[in-house]
Each structure stands twice: as structure tokens, then as C-alpha cells.
């Protein structure tokens, strides 16, 4: 089959721009999602079932509904009342953060619960408050165990950011679709996009493996 390298060259600047936005969306999603996820995970762990309920339902909603629907909802229904107009980049960041926060919350919860009860007891018996024990004893250990599942989630997030193309956020997949729409050729844009996503996820993987190794030797 013929493969039109010239079309890829023509679109290279757009792929470059798109890649930058994809990286931006992913980093924003990871940072905000991790922060929110920690809060929500801790919220779900609260002993008071009534207080934990909203956190539980947050996780149920964002894990249990398609990200595509969440992105459309946030873009067309949530963001406009605040900004007076749509903003695809804001909507994409909000949707990716809220969605990944639900998964990350579960990773945090599982990580925290995997730490032996004796660790909390030892910390409390020394007079530390619950918050101190969490901060200095439980979370540092739990975090180490969370790295592999978090890495997994981050990789999923990078790929999920391609759904932002739906609302015309000019990220990597958007330009892939645009190229496809212009030339009616599927393989050149989509394989190019796939290779770039692969490079992004492999780079992240590399960083995470190094982090994991460093924490293991500590």
C-alpha cells in the first residue's frame, strides 16, 4: 500500500502543536487528579459512613460513566455558565482531572489500607495525631506501593486525553482527525498519532521505573 509521507510532513507542525497540548492536558490532569484523588481517597476512608458517602458516590459516578459523556457534559453544560462561553482546553483539563481523581482515589485508598495496622498503632502509641501518623508514617509507605498502579493510571490518562478531540480541543488526536478529514486517509494520521502516544507513554514509563527503583533502594 502507498503511504503518503509527504502528508505527514505537511502536518508535522500541527502534530507538534497537538503533542504539546496533549502533554499539557496530561500533566494538568495528573497533577490536579492526584491532589483531588488523595483528598477523595481519604474522604472515602472516613469512619463516619455518612460523611464518606459523597466521596463514595463521586467515585461511583466518575468511574461508572463514560469519559466521553463526562467531557461533553463538562464542555457544554458545566464550563459555559462559569466562563460565559465554551473553552475546550479548560473543559478537557476539568474532565480529565475529575475522572482520573476517581481512579486515583481508589488507588490511594487501596494503598493506605494495604499498610499494616500496626504502623498506625505504633505511630499513635507514640502520641502522634491521626493526621501526623498519616503524613509521616502511612502515606510515605503507601505512596511507594501506589507507584505502579498510579503509573498505569497516568498512562491511561495520556491516552484518554485524546477524547478531548471530541470537543475540538486542538490536541494530538484532533489534528490526526483533521488530517484524516482533509485527505480522507486513515493510516497516515492515526499511525502517526499512535507512534507519538507510544513515545509519550514510554517516556512516562521510563520515568516511573526510575522513580520506583530509587524508592526501592532507599
Amino acid at each position: 500500500m502507498d503511504f503518503r509521507w509527504d502528508l505527514i510532513v505537511e502536518y508535522a507542525p500541527f502534530f507538534a502543536k497537538g503533542t504539546l497540548l496533549t502533554i499539557g492536558l496530561s500533566i494538568a490532569g495528573i497533577v490536579i487528579g492526584t491532589f483531588l484523588g488523595l483528598l477523595i481517597g481519604l474522604g472515602k476512608l472516613m469512619r463516619n459512613k455518612l460523611l464518606a458517602l459523597p466521596f463514595n458516590w463521586y467515585i461511583n459516578f466518575f468511574r461508572g460513566t463514560p469519559l466521553m459523556v463526562q467531557i461533553l457534559l463538562i464542555h457544554f453544560a458545566v464550563v459555559p455558565p462559569f466562563l460565559g462561553t465554551t473553552n475546550a482546553i479548560v473543559a478537557a483539563i476539568v474532565a480529565l482531572s475529575l475522572n482520573s481523581a476517581a481512579y486515583i482515589a481508589e488507588i490511594f485508598r487501596a494503598g493506605i489500607q494495604s499498610i499494616d495496622r500496626g504502623q498506625m498503632e505504633a505511630a499513635r502509641s507514640l502520641g502522634m495525631t491521626h493526621v501526623q501518623a498519616m503524613k509521616f508514617v502511612i502515606l510515605p509507605q503507601a505512596f511507594k506501593r501506589m507507584i505502579p498502579p498510579l503509573g498505569n493510571e497516568f498512562i491511561v490518562l495520556i491516552k484518554d486525553s485524546s477524547l478531548a478531540a471530541l470537543i475540538a480541543a486542538p490536541e494530538l488526536m484532533y489534528w490526526g482527525r483533521a488530517m484524516q478529514g482533509q485527505y480522507y486517509r486513515a493510516w497516515e494520521p492515526y499511525l502517526t498519532a499512535a507512534v507519538i502516544y507510544l513515545v509519550l507513554t514510554l517516556s512516562l514509563n521510563f520515568l516511573l521505573t526510575r522513580l520506583e527503583r530509587r524508592m526501592a533502594t532507599e
Binding site: 499494616d116 504502623q119 499513635r124 502509641s125 507514640l126 502520641g127 502522634m128
Partner: protein
Amino acid sequence: MIKVENLKKSFGLNEVLKDINVTVKPQEVVVVIGPSGSGKSTFLRCINMLESITGGHVYIEGIDLTDKKTDINKVRTEVGMVFQQFNLFPHKKVIENVMLAPMKVRKISAEEARAKGLALLRKVGLEEKAEAYPDSLSGGQKQRVAIARALAMEPNIMLFDEPTSALDPEMVGEVLEVMKQLAKEGMTMVVVTHEMGFAKEVGDRVLFMDGGLIVEENIPSELFDHPKEARTKAFLSKVL
């Protein structure tokens, strides 16, 4: 120093402690023995509220732990605890294990905490392991670090929850040695243990627990040599 009144503890429908009354005087070493499931560990854990109390009262130096206004964290700084499974913090070096609580709870400086920590490690014979991680230590060494960690808060009372039960036999001695030293220095101690030799040698008083009750209590020589209750006799005949 410790006063336990009508202490009751249930896990669901399971009543583990039925009615415990004990007083521990300053500098006294009280040893708690009894078959497994007798409630002796639960009793010990109620003394620093690691278990919530179902009924009755526990007073530490006159402060009622069951009073909602009591700051339990403050009380715990006065009550050190040593666990069967050591529960050292694996992500921290030995010296950091010892320094952590004094720095975060007592808010002393890192230099001061380190100096104090090293002194305590010297006391338990592990100064050279200060920069090691707990994973590289033997069981006996871990438990000695755990004792140093508890002592770093300068508690007035030390609770020991079967401190030698998870150790290989050849390591039991080094831990008991540290505990004996502590007793000699006048520390108030409550020790749950199966080491009858230790109970005899160091204990001022021995409590025999069974079925959630204190069945018999006496000075060691009397309790071991002239037990009065049938259940005490049956237990001692099995372990001695």
C-alpha cells in the same frame, strides 16, 4: 499511676474483657500471663486506648481516658508501648524511627532528637545500627530499636505486648536484658508475656488472666509456687 476500674470491652457480641480492676503503683513491674484469648493483650491495649473502651474507667496519673475531654494524644506521650511485631517504620532509618515522634510531637530540634536518639540506641546496644534500615536488622535488634523508640518520648509508663513472642529463641535474651535494665531504673511497666522466668525474676506482681477476668494476682513467688485457683494451676502445669 494506672488505675483500671470495672473495665469492659466487647467486639460486637463477643465480650473480651468482663470486669477488670487493677492498680499499678509508680515504679511497679506488673506481669500479665494467661492462655491465648484470655484478653490480656486487649487489656494492655485499653490502657493507652488503642482499643476503645466499652465500659468502666482507665485512669493514667489521675486522668480519666474515657472522659471525652481528655486529649488522648497527650496521655499517650506518657505511655510507651512495645508491640509483638515491633511495628518499626520500614521507610525510615533506625535513628529516624527513634527521632520521629520527639520531633513531631514534642517539637524538639533535629539535633537534640538525634543526640537523644543515639544515647538511647547506645543504651540498647545498637548505636552502630543508627543509619541502617529496619529490614536489615534481626528480630531481637528490631525489638530493641522499638524499645528505644518508645523511650525517646520519655514516658512514665511502658507497656509491653508479648515483646519476645515473635523472636527466635536465641534473641529473646537480649530483649529481656534491656527490659530488666529498665525495670532496675525504676520504670513503671506492664508486661504481657509468656516468659515465666522473666516474670519471676523481674515482676513485682503477676496477674493471671483467663476468660476476660483476672483470675488470680500475687507476688511472683507465691503465684508460681502456690497458685490458689484451679485454672491457674492448670495453666502453670502446661507452661512450666
